[in-house]
């Protein structure tokens, strides 16, 4: 029999995994809702998922590739920047959507109990789907430019996705709960994400910074993007130290996010 205790203070970091498991279907239904709603009233539907990175690629190629003259040896700039956007878009779209998710769902939060962590996490599944579609386009680009992935690169796709997931989850758990109290987050976040794209080797290779590259790797997405670019396009050698530090940083970010979220979660319904 279930016994529910309601008390002023719970343990420091008390995550009820059993409960999360019981609510797994809610995760599914919320994600499904986001996916359906997103394509419900659009006329070209899923194509948007592909069009966004593709058009960004063209624009970036013109401005950064041609005008700014960022040169990347052996890799044509369009596929270079697309390989960066692939993971970056998954990261940034998820981050901004998850960070606003609690505020967007305030009505549910005030009326029903369930583990609130489901809300930010469920809001990102739709962007994973986008990732899959834009990956298909990426495969097309690889054929077009005659690049072949290395086996290591293929094997690293899953770990890279996990690192990306942990990074945006960790950050958005903090941002979304701060957002409940201070709505400033909603305005500051797009700006923050815009800046972050320049602190990540999306449009330029990490090597551009020479011996100061390590600074870039304080951002866990740097390791993911650099490594996957090398692995999938088969050009250059993988910097395992960078990838490893990305993994470590993402885990730390996730734990930090979890901790902060758990601590503030109890008061969401009161202040939202």
């Amino acid at each position: 029999m279930i016994e529910i205790k309601i008390k002023p203070n719970e343990g420091f970091l008390n995550i009820d995994l059993k409960e999360l498991w019981r609510f797994r279907e809610l995760f599914y239904f919320l994600s499904l809702r986001d996916i359906k709603v997103r394509y419900k009233q659009t006329s070209i539907g899923v194509i948007w998922a592909v069009l966004q990175p593709f058009l960004t690629m063209i624009i970036f190629s013109i401005f950064f590739g041609r005008v700014a003259g960022i040169s990347v040896k052996e890799i044509p700039y369009p596929i270079f920047v697309y390989s960066g956007l692939l993971f970056w878009n998954y990261f940034s779209n998820s981050l901004s959507s998850a960070s606003n998710s609690l505020v967007a769902e305030q009505n549910i939060i005030q009326k029903v109990y369930f583990p609130k962590i489901i809300i930010p996490l469920a809001s990102t599944l739709v962007f994973f789907l986008d990732f899959v579609f834009s990956f298909i386009v990426f495969i097309g680009l690889m054929f077009y430019y005659h690049f072949f992935p290395t086996l290591t690169g293929i094997l690293l796709i899953i770990p890279a996705l996990i690192i990306t997931f942990l990074s945006f989850s960790g950050l958005s758990l903090v941002f979304s709960s701060v957002n409940v109290k201070y709505r400033d987050v909603r305005y500051a976040l797009p700006f923050f994400i815009q800046l972050l794209v320049f602190l990540t080797p999306v449009i330029y290779p990490a090597s551009i910074l020479g011996k100061h590259q390590w600074l870039l790797y304080l951002n866990p997405m740097s390791g993911v993007i650099e490594t996957m670019r090398i692995g999938l396009l088969g050009v250059g050698t993988i910097n395992w130290l960078a990838f490893g530090s990305s993994a470590l940083l993402s885990i730390l970010l996730f734990l930090l996010g979890l901790l902060y979220f758990k601590r503030s979660e109890r008061f969401f319904a009161d202040i939202i």
């Binding site: 529910i4 205790k5 309601i6 008390k7 919320l30 009505n107 109990y113 319904a269």
Partner: protein, 429 residues
């Protein structure tokens, strides 16, 4: 029997402003940070008041009981349900619930306007805590209960508000928790559907489910709940059989009782008319607010007229506890059995007393409020009145042994007159 809910000294404190302000911003915090030392230096008290939405509430509920939670607005009813359903957390005390809980604080939580009825059933069901399997197995029942039929595959944004509520409630009505918390959700939808929901809930309680039911509607509380608790200003002030608690609740309202009178200075009215007192009488001179459905009763209004020659129009309105105005009565000849002596007659200065007899077997059982109006025949068209005061008194119509022997609940409708019936046998076919 086993206690399924045990609440001990449960308390919830809000800082004043916390609930009211929409949200904070960093700027506010910075302003506060700067202000604080300045205020401290000047010896000003920092304006932070605590507000106890709930204070030291203790009670317990046995398995299978249906408990009514009543109280005025802001008494802490919803806070109690929110604490028990873990939506928000207590400042002090604790509660133990032994069983699977569902709470219904709103109809249609999580509905998305873009999604179809079918999709919303699953979404809302999942948000309320049902598993997909449960929803699958009850899906047809839910659709049937909601009466939306062919609109199942239409986005709910195209629904009428009635359809929307019916679908939303149909989902909620099929929850099968061991403990169910229900807030004022039945106040929506048409009467027929409300009744259907109440019946469904009644059945649910017969199946041994425990329900905590918050409502302003005394009729449905008394129909559903044997026992009730009464909250007032965050404290539990009474607990016991529902009729007793409802009586206490009615007594709690300042404006209530079988008679009310005012000091001259506080009396409702203007420079022409002031009301001195209002009484409900079960016979010519006995104030009483528990009235037998089979007997006539009287509403009596005493008032001063200050202006020589004014033509006054005394008027009462009866309102049931769902807020429906049952009727308006005044002494216009077309709505009186016989003409009132002082109708359309210039009144001298002085004290007047108007009494209205309300016939037996007109109102159905339940609680009623009296609103008073004193108008002026001269101002009848521009609807100006000297006195206009709502809910000055309340009373209860009791149907001790009539209808209940013959019918399982009260009948649909706002009144319950005794009428002539005649049935004839016409032919063999």
């Amino acid at each position: 029997m086993e206690k399924i809910i045990e609440v001990q000294n449960l308390s919830k404190k809000y800082k004043i402003g916390e609930k009211r302000e929409r949200y904070y911003s960093f700027r506010d915090e910075i302003v506060k940070l700067v202000k604080k030392p300045v205020q401290l230096m000047r010896g000003q008290k920092i304006n932070k008041r605590d507000f106890w939405a709930l204070k030291d509430v203790s009670f317990s509920v046995k398995r299978g009981e249906v408990i009514g939670v009543i109280g005025r607005n802001g008494a802490g009813k919803t806070t109690l349900l929110k604490l028990l359903s873990k939506i928000t957390y207590p400042t002090g005390g604790q509660a133990i619930i032994r069983g699977r809980v569902n709470s219904l604080l709103e109809v249609g939580t999580g509905f998305h306007p873009e999604l179809k009825g079918r999709e919303n059933i699953y979404l809302s069901g999942a948000i309320l805590g049902m598993t997909k399997k449960e929803i699958d197995s009850k899906f047809d029942e839910i659709v049937e209960f909601s009466e939306i039929g062919e609109f199942l595959d239409t986005p709910v944004k195209r629904y009428s508000s009635g359809m929307y509520v019916r679908l939303a409630f149909a989902v909620a009505a099929h929850l099968e928790p061991e403990v169910l918390f229900v807030d004022e959700v039945l106040a929506v939808g048409d009467y027929k559907f409300q009744k259907k929901c109440l019946e469904k809930m009644g059945r649910v309680s017969q199946e041994g489910r425990t329900i905590l039911f918050v409502s302003h509607n005394m009729a449905s509380v008394s129909r559903l709940c044997n026992r009730s608790i009464l909250l007032e200003k965050g404290k539990l002030i009474a607990e016991g059989p529902t009729p007793d608690i409802i009586e206490k609740y009615i007594g709690l309202r300042e404006e209530v009782g079988s008679e009310v009178s005012w000091n001259f200075n506080e009396a409702p009215g203007d420079s022409t008319v002031k009301v001195k007192s209002v009484r409900i009488l079960s016979d010519q001179n006995t104030p009483n607010y528990k009235l037998d459905i089979n007997k006539d009763f009287f509403v009596e209004m005493t008032y001063w007229n200050f202006v020589e020659g004014s033509k006054l129009l005394p008027c009462i309105r009866l309102v049931n506890n769902e807020g429906v105005i049952i009727f308006t009565a005044n002494n216009l000849p077309s709505v009186c059995l016989k003409q009132d002596d002082w109708y359309d007659r210039p009144s001298p200065k002085g004290l007047f007393c108007s009494t209205c007899k309300i016939p037996a077997n007109l109102l159905k059982e339940g609680y009623y409020f009296v609103n008073i109006v004193i108008g002026n025949l001269a101002g009848l068209l521009d609807s100006y009145s000297h006195v206009y005061k709502d809910q000055v008194l309340s009373f209860e119509i009791i149907d001790k042994d009539g209808l209940h022997k013959e019918h399982h609940s009260t009948m649909i409708g706002v009144i319950q007159p005794k009428l002539d019936w005649k049935t004839e046998y016409q032919s063999g076919k």
